[in-house]
């Protein structure tokens, strides 16, 4: 029988000594990791008694996760691992193994800063998690982004089973919609320990997409480095769909408005060029028919005189129409920027310009106060002038003309009105009368070219307003138009 030399301190003694230190669990392990000796400290910290522990593999006993195996390397080693108590609760602990002749001495102590939670705290946490799981899509990943936890909602929305998700990298649901920089920013933020919040488009297993409002919370270890991330998400697919539809609609509207503006500009340019160029040959027609009339009237026969007369009338009317068309086309170019103007000034100027016709018709004019608006004075004068000229022209032959002029505040604008008691017209023509060269009466009944109200419409629309008309035959007509309110500080 050979004697082995005794060590300076018996490992058992050491083990027993350390076993009495508070907050420290120690045990002696055999070469295969089975428990040989179990201390009171271990009992206190972990709940398992000596009888229960001795003889069992330590990894089984404490349910040490496979990815953090206990270092039993025949030398001093350290690791961190999640340990499970007898009651099933877990905690992170630092593990140190020291080789001793009998096997390995294992020292376990809870991670600093993570005091052992009380039972109520644990329950409270469990309840909170349950509440979170009920309302949100929850996933937890490790530091590399591999999924370690997925709640039912996550499984449902992503259409993956929990088994399919666990251990997979979170990229499994990447939709490819966001640029690479988006995720680079996300990662650089959370890796530094910052909470990240944003909207992400993900792809479910069947290839369909869903949007989530996402908050990612990094969990930090004792050294401040994230060791896992929890993402809490809410589905916003429907909202996003509506938003996208709105954006699409808006872009479409903008495109259409731009196209309309282009075509309007083209049309004005066309009208200008056409009418200007038409004037030249027309001048020849009218001048030479006039010359014909001057020189040969009464020297041919009555037919010839009549024909020449028709030709002259036609040429003259066309000249007026071309000039009107030119003026109409030029209207938008002559609009100076809008400024604060008193609408009373526009009305006064219009009445002054029409003084002869006003004198002839001798109307009773009832004027209510008119506001200050944002507009172009010369154009608004023209507007009133055309509306008033209209009322003067179409007055009722059987009664004196009454005019009522006013303005009312309506929402963000002024609604102005010009009311008469004239001959009125069938309301079915209410739209048509604003069209250029459209007339409701023959030239013999009432002279005119059908340009005045087209001017009015263009002027009002150029001011961002709208014009319309209400009329009853034989009763009278009311023209109404809106103008933007003065928004400048007075």
């Amino acid at each position: 029988m050979t004697q082995t030399p005794a060590p300076a301190i018996s490992p058992i003694t050491l083990h027993l000594l350390l076993g009495d230190l508070p907050g420290l669990a120690t045990c002696l392990l055999g070469g295969g990791g089975q428990v040989l000796e179990w201390t009171e400290g271990a009992h206190a910290l972990l709940g398992q008694g000596r009888e229960e522990a001795v003889g069992r593999p330590i990894a089984d006993l404490l349910r040490i996760p496979a990815e953090s195996p206990l270092p039993l390397l025949g030398q001093r080693a350290e690791t961190w691992s999640l340990l499970t108590r007898r009651d099933g609760s877990t905690f992170r602990a630092q593990l140190i193994t020291l080789p001793v002749p009998e096997g390995h001495l294992l020292l376990m102590h809870p991670a600093l800063g993570t005091p052992q939670p009380k039972e109520e705290t644990v329950r409270e946490l469990m309840e909170l998690r349950q509440a979170l799981d009920e309302s949100a899509i929850v996933a937890i990943t490790d530091a590399k982004g591999d999924i370690t936890y997925a709640n039912d909602r996550f499984c449902r929305i992503s259409q993956y089973s929990r088994e399919e998700l666990l251990g997979k990298n979170h990229r499994i649901i990447n939709s490819g919609y966001h640029p690479k920089a988006f995720f680079t920013n996300l990662w650089s933020s959370i890796a530094r320990g910052h909470v990240w919040r944003g909207e992400i488009k993900n792809r479910a297993k069947d290839g369909s997409y869903y949007w989530v409002d996402t908050t990612i919370v990094p969990f930090l270890d004792a050294s401040g480095r994230p060791w896992q991330y929890m993402s809490i998400r809410f589905e916003i697919t429907e909202r996003k769909r509506v938003e996208e539809a709105l954006l699409e609609k808006q872009a479409e509207l903008e495109e259409r408005a731009a196209a309309l503006a282009r075509s309007n500009a083209d049309l004005e340019q066309f009208a200008y060029v056409a009418s200007h160029d038409l004037q030249e040959p027309l001048r020849m027609v009218s001048s030479f028919t006039e010359l014909l009339a001057k020189r040969y009237k009464g020297r041919l026969d009555t037919d010839a005189d009549e024909f020449i007369d028709f030709a002259m009338q036609g040429a003259l009317r066309m000249q007026v129409m071309i000039q009107d068309l030119l003026a109409y086309a030029r209207l938008s170019n002559t609009m100076e920027g809008t400024q604060r103007i008193h609408l009373e000034d526009a009305l006064d100027a219009a009445l002054a310009n029409l003084s002869l016709a006003v004198k002839e018709a001798a109307p009773t004019i009832r004027r209510f106060p008119l506001p200050v608006v944002m507009g172009d004075l010369s154009h608004l004068t023209l507007l009133y002038q055309n509306l008033l000229a209209n009322a003067l022209k179409f007055r009722h032959p059987g009664r004196p003309l009454e005019l009522t002029l006013g303005a009312e505040r309506e929402g963000g604008h002024w609604r102005c009105s010009v009311k008469d008691n004239g001959i009125g017209f069938d309301p079915q023509y209410a739209e048509r009368i604003f069209t250029i060269f459209q007339r409701l009466h023959s030239r013999a009944e009432y002279p005119g070219n059908g340009i005045g109200l087209a001017f009015c419409k263009k002027i009002v629309e150029r001011h961002g307003g709208r014009i319309w008309v209400e009329s009853t035959p034989n009763q009278g007509t009311t023209f109404l138009f809106t103008l933007p309110m003065d928004r400048s500080p007075s």
Binding site: H276, Q279, E280, L282, R283, M284, S286, S287, F288, E290, L291, K294, L316, Q319
Partner: protein, 145 residues
């Protein structure tokens, strides 16, 4: 101006109708006149230089010049006239349909004697021509030679 010698008026216009209207308007004028027509700027310069077929062309007493013409335009002709020591004293009146301020300014800068826009109706047109004639050929005193 001598009543015996007719005034020589050069009308530069690509529209024969306008030339005819000017002729008709000046026909009954108080000042006897002779109208010479050039259909574009090139012809107008040939007329002034007495180049073929205008070898026997007289020196005009008045030039009525349209602006928009093929080949050499009115403004170029005006500049050529006002750059020439021989021609620059000839009253040169612009008679055009253009109301563009750029045209108006350009012509006065090039020393046009007047800028007139052709009226659209015959009556006014005739009156304008009579006025031109009476002002430049009767009222205004011009250098001799």
């Amino acid at each position: 101006m001598s009543g015996l010698q007719p005034c020589e008026i050069l009308v530069v216009d690509d529209n024969p109708g306008d030339v005819r209207l000017i002729q008709e308007s000046l026909k009954d004028g108080r000042v006897p006149n002779r109208i010479h027509a050039a259909r574009d700027g090139e012809e107008a310069l040939a007329f002034l230089r007495r180049q073929a077929p205008f070898e026997s062309a007289p020196r005009p007493d008045l030039i009525l010049l349209d602006l928009n013409m093929p080949k050499v335009g009115g403004l170029e002709v005006l500049r050529a006239i006002k750059a020439s020591p021989e021609w620059k004293t000839i009253p040169t009146v612009i008679l055009t349909t253009s109301m563009g301020n750029g045209d108006i300014k350009g012509c006065y800068e090039a020393q046009a004697n007047a800028y007139l826009v052709k009226p659209t109706d015959l009556g006014t047109f005739s009156e304008m021509l009579s006025s031109i004639q009476s002002f430049w050929l009767t009222l205004a005193t011009l250098p001799v030679g």
